[in-house]
């Protein structure tokens, strides 16, 4: 996009605000400067030979930042029009439409109603109308692409069962039977929870070496009921 177009429009907009005596014009202006600087930064980075930019990662970062700003700006714009719409709706709510019942002599002229429903048909109609509606899908379901949901709590119970015996086990051994990465992740999270509850201790002799897990809570000292609720909510 041409930056000058945006800038020109923006300066016009800011001038308009200042004429109206809007105090937040300065806020808007500084915010715009930040965004413009970011965009310029990115543009410059793309134009210059590779030497000027450290590496691809920098560009990716800049793009991520740009995207974030763009999103914030868009959200802000919608917030702003939402406020205007709210004011309009309030103002319009003060105008009441004339929507009175049809005068009796006109209502009497309406053609006789055709009615073909038996009470049974009518009841079926009521059943379908009263049945709670399933929430309509927002997207094509992706459920079939995933395995069944994995519960951290469940995995914690499995780990507890294996470790309670007393023998320390490595993380590798504890996840050897995991049927998917999701299960590995869940077991890892479960271990963190267990660690927090002081039910297990970790030992790692070398960086990136095997992680050994030892049960420290005693045979009956821990139950999965302690597990934090946050894992039970589906996102």
């Amino acid at each position: 996009m041409a930056l000058s177009t945006v800038t020109d429009e923006f300066i016009k907009y800011i001038k308009g605000l200042q004429q109206l005596g809007e105090e937040w014009a300065l806020d808007e202006a500084s915010e715009f400067l930040v965004i413009a600087a970011t965009l310029l930064d990115l543009k410059a980075a793309r134009l210059l030979p590779a030497g000027a930019v450290e590496d691809e990662e920098d560009i990716a970062l800049l793009e991520a930042r740009d995207l974030l700003f763009a999103r914030l700006l868009q959200y802000k714009a919608f917030k702003q029009v939402a406020g205007m719409m709210g004011d309009t709706l309030d103002l319009e709510a003060g105008r009441y439409p004339r929507q009175v019942a049809l005068e009796g002599h006109f209502a009497a002229l309406l053609p006789e109603l055709l009615w073909r429903h038996t009470p049974e048909q009518f009841a079926r109609l009521a059943e379908s109308a009263l049945k709670p509606k399933e929430a309509a899908p927002t997207e094509v379901g992706l459920a079939h692409l995933h395995g069944t949901p994995v519960s951290v709590k469940e995995q914690a119970e499995i780990l507890g069962g294996r470790l309670r015996a007393g023998t320390p086990l490595t993380f590798r051994a504890l996840t050897a039977d995991a049927e998917s990465t999701l299960v590995v992740v869940a077991r890892f999270l479960a271990l963190l929870e267990l660690f927090r509850d002081k039910a297990v201790a970790f030992e790692q002799l070398l960086p990136l070496g095997d992680l050994t897990v030892r049960w420290t809570a005693g045979a009956e000292g821990w139950s999965s009921d302690h597990l934090s609720e946050e894992y039970e909510e589906q996102p």
């Binding site: 709510a93 105008r95 019942a101 009615w115 059943e127 009263l130």
Partner: protein
């Protein structure tokens, strides 16, 4: 505009001073008469406008005459000077029926109005109307908001059609929310060929009753 913003709408403490508004008390009275569905008595109008009944009765008589064309004066012209000037009547008239005042379309235009009303009218209820009627029949007395919640769409115009068709009627207001409650009429029973709503076929017991519906739907209400 005037001091009290229209956005503040209903339920504000101070009664507005109708005299200070553009068009004054006469225009305020017109505003009310134009949108009320049920005829209102002079006393009711006076209370709402914060005027005496005498003043309101005077204004009502003035407006009635003006709509009938007995005076062609603009509302702000001194009334004494132009009283009696005859102009053409308006297309509407202010009528006092059984003590209540309401604006109606002028009787002379009944043929034209009837034609307009009948244009596009069908003898059949739409699916939306049928479903709304079914919900009201099985969950009466019920408010429009509740029916909207069950059907998932706004049912205002459909409820008006059903009322106009004589299939449902107003059965008082909900003591809590103040919303108008609707029930089916005896004409509905007649059309269904049954003696009372108790004769409607039983629905599956698994369907949510009104209480269940409240829980099911109100969670998402704002």
């Amino acid at each position: 505009m005037n001091q009290t913003g229209p956005g503040q709408a209903a339920g504000q403490g101070e009664p507005a001073d109708v005299g200070s508004l553009p068009g004054g008390a006469r225009a305020a009275l017109e505003a009310v008469l134009m949108v009320i569905d049920q005829p209102a008595t002079a006393a009711e109008l006076a209370a709402g406008l914060n005027l005496t009944v005498d003043v309101v009765e005077g204004l009502l008589a003035d407006l009635q005459q003006e709509y009938n064309g007995y005076t062609g004066k603009a509302p702000d012209v001194d009334s004494a000077s132009s009283q009696g000037v005859t102009a053409t009547p308006r297309g509407f008239e202010l009528r006092n029926i059984a003590g209540g005042w309401r604006i109606y379309s002028r009787a002379e235009f009944a043929d034209i109005v009837a034609g307009f009303v009948l244009e596009g009218q069908t003898a059949r209820l739409t699916q939306a109307a049928l479903e709304t009627l079914a919900v009201i029949a099985y969950r009466q007395p019920v408010s429009r908001a509740r029916v909207s919640a069950i059907r998932g769409v706004n049912v205002d115009s459909v409820v008006r059609t059903l009322t106009q068709r004589g299939l449902i009627e107003d059965s008082g207001t909900d003591p809590e929310s103040g919303a108008i409650l609707y029930r089916t009429t005896s004409y509905f029973l007649e059309r269904m060929g049954i003696g009372s709503v108790a004769e409607l076929p039983q629905l599956s017991p698994h369907l949510p009753g009104l209480e269940g519906i409240e829980e099911f739907y109100d969670a998402g209400r704002m």
